[in-house]
């Protein structure tokens, strides 16, 4: 046969082969398909988006920019009279509803910024430690073991001592203590992966260490980062409550933690709405993160079917 005929045969064969073999999906695509079917996860995702939007809009001033103003007499219980009185008023007559919205902004920003700080540190140290091993590993492990041996509260308190109180210190303090969990996981994964064939192959084609770390291995462990992000975010929001209880929280602005702390003194007099407002608001976003994190983990783990 002429070459033309030969080419056609091959084409047909490959086509046929392609038709038989299952279509390969990347981890992400697979996860995406699975997640799409999980209605609960989708609801949670949108809840989070909603909170993020509220936070953003509050930051640019669309919502609740007038939270400082008194809208009624002190300690009014919730009523449907107006949107401001929806959650009642606080000790100064300010709208608890507005404070809750403002608190959303603080919560989302605390979660976001502390994650933005902790994740790169965790990834960097974890990957270097897992990949290079030996003395690099020893130092990093020594460092995070030491850090995690010290009770978290103490570290947070000490860091806020140094940096002064306020939201920036909270960002840094939370970021500086949260990277450990991620680093551990990434380190473990890197240790597993660096011996794998595809990495050795990459070395074979001349990929540098940096390239191997970032271009080859990292994408394969990035799902851990996403999962960690959702956990981190939520942990940061809860940590802010404890910090406010200790007096180290956000200064001069209402946050959920500050509101719950105020509630300590109010509850015994029957003023429950500030506690309820902040708790409910926090509850839904933390819940959403939890469920989403779970679903992400289930979706991204190829072994669990």
């Amino acid at each position: 046969m002429t070459s033309n005929t030969g080419a056609t045969t091959i084409e047909t064969l490959s086509e046929q082969a392609a038709l038989i073999a299952p279509k390969g999906r990347s981890l992400w695509k697979d996860a995406y398909c699975r997640l799409k079917k999980d209605r609960l996860a989708i609801i949670c995702f949108f809840i989070i988006i909603f909170y993020a939007l509220v936070a953003l809009l509050t930051k640019i001033g669309v919502f609740a920019s007038s939270w400082e103003d008194a809208v009624g007499p002190a300690y009014q219980p919730p009523s449907f009279d107006s949107i401001q009185l929806l959650f009642g008023t606080d000790i100064f007559g300010r709208s608890v509803f507005y404070k809750v919205i403002h608190g959303t902004r603080i919560a989302m920003s605390v979660g976001l910024v502390s994650s933005v700080i902790s994740i790169p540190i965790g990834v960097l140290l974890g990957s270097m430690s897992g990949y290079f091993g030996r003395w690099v590993d020893d130092i990093v492990v020594w460092f995070y073991t030491t850090l995690s041996s010290i009770p978290n509260i103490m570290l947070l308190i000490a860091i806020t001592f140094v940096l002064g109180k306020g939201i920036t210190s909270i960002y840094i303090a939370l970021g500086a203590t949260a990277w450990v969990g991620l680093a551990r996981v990434i380190r473990g994964e890197f240790m597993k992966h660096k011996e794998r064939d595809y990495v050795v192959a990459a070395e074979g084609i001349g990929a540098s260490n940096v390239s191997r770390i970032f271009k080859h291995i990292l994408p394969n462990v990035s799902h851990f980062i996403i999962i960690n992000l959702s956990i981190q975010f939520m942990a940061a929001i809860k940590a802010e409550v404890i910090l406010s209880f200790l007096g180290l929280g956000v200064q001069g602005q209402p946050s959920w933690g500050v509101m719950i702390d105020d509630a300590k003194l109010e509850l015994a007099r029957g003023v429950w709405w500030q506690l309820a407002g902040a708790t409910v608001a926090m509850f839904f976003v933390v819940l959403a993160f939890n469920i989403l994190g779970d679903s992400l983990r289930d979706a991204l783990d190829p072994k669990i079917k």
């Binding site: 020594w142 010290i150 009770p151 509260i153 103490m154 506690l275």
Partner: protein, 311 residues
């Protein structure tokens, strides 16, 4: 085995040193100065100098650090600035109450979490599984402070089911005072543990040998009980063992609100009063417990899982 233990012990030394260094830097160089607090409203310059001399504040920092290291080794941290009690005694006194709260809470949480964890993994993917997980997540989503405030107000005060706060040293009276805090502790922790155990168990369920067991014809319950449970014990146990040393420290929130004079409450007071000896002692204690807990876990791991080799 013995060599392994010794080696691991030696490895803890640089960690302990690192911890001491960080604690010292953080609380000594940047922490509050307790001098004014100790002298009260009518201090004068002379008294301040006398006090600093008496307590060794006027010595150069590195000497203070060396003294601190000595304290760690001998485990004698001296006396609290605020209460003047010897710290060793305070710690011993505080352990009892903290554990009275922590141990039952821990046992109950573990017991419930393992049962529920097994239950939901068995019924994974079903509506039951999902709703239980959601319930757990519910439990985890509220801050502890909210639980405490609600709990005290409704269950203790309004309904009178529990005492509002307080503590007795006698047995068994002390148990009634820790019931509500235990309940709160369990509500907060069960969620986290159930999900963790569920993941661990499901990891096993996805393994090939489980598929083989099923292929062999074993019934599902049998597969679970005989194979999955045993193998998932490894991560579960290691998680538990890590948690045990931490129990001693108690939860400072629960202890403050419920008036339980445990170690958590002592620690928080110390932080508020810049009572450095106590802070040093408690932090060192926890660090040491953590380090040795890890060591115990490592060793346990090698015992339980023969695949793990001693490096």
């Amino acid at each position: 085995m013995f060599e392994y233990i010794v080696r691991k012990l030696l490895q803890t030394i640089p960690t302990i040193f690192g911890v001491a260094l960080i604690i010292f830097i953080l609380f000594n160089l940047v922490g509050g100065d307790p001098t004014y607090q100790m002298l009260g409203k009518h201090a004068n310059q002379k008294q301040i100098q006398e006090l600093r001399h008496e307590y060794g504040f006027d010595q150069p920092k590195y000497i203070q650090f060396v003294q601190y290291l000595k304290q760690i080794v001998t485990f004698d941290f001296g006396r609290s600035y605020a209460t003047k009690q010897p710290i060793g005694k305070m710690i011993l006194r505080g352990i009892g109450p903290s554990l009275t709260l922590a141990i039952p809470a821990f046992l109950l949480t573990t017991f419930l979490s393992v049962i529920i964890g097994l239950f939901v993994s068995y019924f994974r993917g079903t509506f039951t599984d999902k709703s239980v997980v959601v319930a757990c997540v519910f439990g985890m989503s509220l801050p502890m402070l909210a639980y405490i405030l609600f709990g005290q107000y409704f269950l203790a005060y309004k309904l009178g089911w529990f005492p509002i706060s307080g503590f007795e040293v006698t047995f068994p009276e002390r148990f009634e005072y820790v019931m509500l805090p235990i309940l709160i502790w369990v509500s907060v922790s069960v969620g986290y543990d159930v999900r963790f155990y569920r993941t661990a168990i499901l990891e096993e369920v996805g393994q090939d040998y489980v598929r083989t067991a099923r292929a062999k014809g074993l019934s599902e319950p049998r597969v679970f009980m005989k194979h999955v449970l045993k193998n998932s014990m490894v991560p579960i146990l290691t998680n538990l063992v890590i948690e045990i040393p931490m129990l001693i420290l108690g939860s400072f929130l629960l202890e403050s609100f419920f008036g339980i004079p445990g170690l958590g409450s002592i620690t928080i007071d110390a932080i508020h009063n810049s009572d450095f000896p106590i802070i040093k002692a408690m932090t060192t204690l926890q660090a040491l417990l953590f380090i040795f807990g890890n060591l115990a876990t490592d060793i346990l791991y090698t015992v339980v899982d023969p695949r793990v080799r001693l490096k």
